[in-house]
């Protein structure tokens, strides 16, 4: 049975998880000489502070519904941050244990937030990054299938489905059907793939942004050419692919804070850089997804 938005709403009724989604859409006012209008969808307004609340909630409810998550099974996934915090929060509310595999030396905020929600954290070699964490999560899931419900955000169809049935329709409704482009970064690719499924049939052009370099600081994004490829990723889901340098994304995150009062994380800055490139040449109404807030990076050198 395919999960529906109604079923998810029903499952979380009366809890903080009712607040996942329906995030604000705001115009950007400080950019001039563009051919298109820019709007940002601020996913930091989700209760767990990022866009990952959507996928986490849907993946957990889907696993409950299809029987993969029952009894005393523990939710398991590999994450360098926001998904871990989101899964930890969802697990706390819905009564599931959560185990997160993260590269060692992830920022303090991430470890502490996930732990605050009661998650157990397993650290892997920091030099192997997120891909090393994925491999360790796979190993654990294969070794103890009776113990874990491995959600695997990189392969889980409930991840893009959350965006197809919530993020996409929200954007359509908030713009009263006037959106012409959707811009977001690609990490698991759930956002781009799901929103593409919802809005492309309505004529919306989909723009997917990636880090320009393998070594980058656009947290949550993947440099696809050098990383483990998510099973849910399909290049054809996007009409335009843009490569964004980290420095440009960081500079834009600072600019958004100072000129728009929007405290975005580095990937949000990167997504706006991608949108500006489009807005310089194509007319229309562009919606950019800002995945999280800058608060999540305060202990890193990004805001020094």
């Amino acid at each position: 049975m395919t999960l529906t938005a109604e079923r998810v709403r029903e499952r979380v009724r009366g809890t903080i998880l009712e607040r996942v989604g329906d995030t604000p859409l705001l115009p950007l006012r400080s950019f001039e000489e563009l051919r298109a209008e820019l709007f940002v969808k601020l996913e930091s307004f989700n209760p767990g502070g990022s866009v990952k609340d959507r996928a986490a909630l849907w993946m957990v409810v889907a696993a409950e519904e299809d029987g993969r998550l029952r009894g005393r099974k523990t939710i398991l996934d590999a994450t360098s941050g926001n998904t871990g915090i989101a899964l930890a929060m969802v697990g706390a509310v819905l009564g599931h244990g959560v185990e997160l595999v993260m590269p060692d030396k992830v920022s303090l905020e991430r470890k502490r937030m996930a732990a605050a929600f009661g998650a157990r954290i397993v650290l892997t070699d920091p030099l192997e990054g997120t891909d090393g964490a994925i491999q360790e999560a796979r190993r654990r899931a294969a070794e103890h299938p009776e113990r874990y419900a491995y959600l695997d955000q990189y392969s889980n169809p409930a991840n893009p489905l959350a965006h197809e049935l919530t993020t996409g329709p929200e954007i359509w409704e908030q713009t009263r059907g006037s959106v012409t482009h959707f811009v977001a970064g690609v990490g698991t690719s759930g956002t781009v793939t799901g929103v593409s499924a919802a809005l492309r049939p309505k004529g919306v052009r989909i723009v997917a942004a990636q880090p320009a370099e393998p070594l980058h600081g656009l947290e949550g994004w993947k440099h696809m050419a050098s990383a483990l490829r998510p099973a849910i990723w399909n290049e054809d889901a996007a009409d335009v692919h843009l490569m964004i340098p980290t420095e440009a994304g960081l500079a834009m995150a600072h600019q958004l804070a100072r000129e728009e009062g929007i405290f975005a994380g580095p990937s949000g800055g990167g997504a706006v850089v991608a949108a500006l490139r489009v807005a310089q040449s194509e007319p229309g109404r562009i919606v950019v997804l800002i995945a999280d807030g800058g608060e999540r990076y305060l202990s890193t050198p990004l805001w020094e």
Binding site: M102, L108, H216
Partner: protein
């Protein structure tokens, strides 16, 4: 003075594919300069135009974050291990 520098997957192409290199130097800056001599282009991957550590690159000398111990002037004791880590999976411990 030889030290071992361990590199993340995203930097291995800069040194011919290895996950670690041996380098000489008394400070982090000297160690990076030594790697640059043998692998031109390495330095610009980890340092910005002003020669500072890129904000999205973290370096640990043993267990110590190099940013807290002098940055590129941080002393690198002989035989120690240096780790270069992307900040996307990093931060301050």
């Amino acid at each position: 003075m030889a030290v071992t520098v361990r590199l993340p997957g995203a930097l291995r192409d800069a040194v011919g594919g290895d996950n670690k290199v041996t380098a000489d130097g008394r400070t982090l800056g000297e160690v990076f300069a030594d790697i640059e001599r043998r692998h031109p282009g390495f330095r610009e991957r980890v340092l910005d135009e002003e020669g500072r550590l890129r904000t999205y690159v973290n370096v640990y000398i043993g267990e110590t974050d190099a940013r807290t111990s002098g940055g590129l002037d941080a002393p690198v004791p002989q035989g120690s291990e240096v780790m270069v880590i992307p900040a996307m999976a990093g931060g301050v411990r």
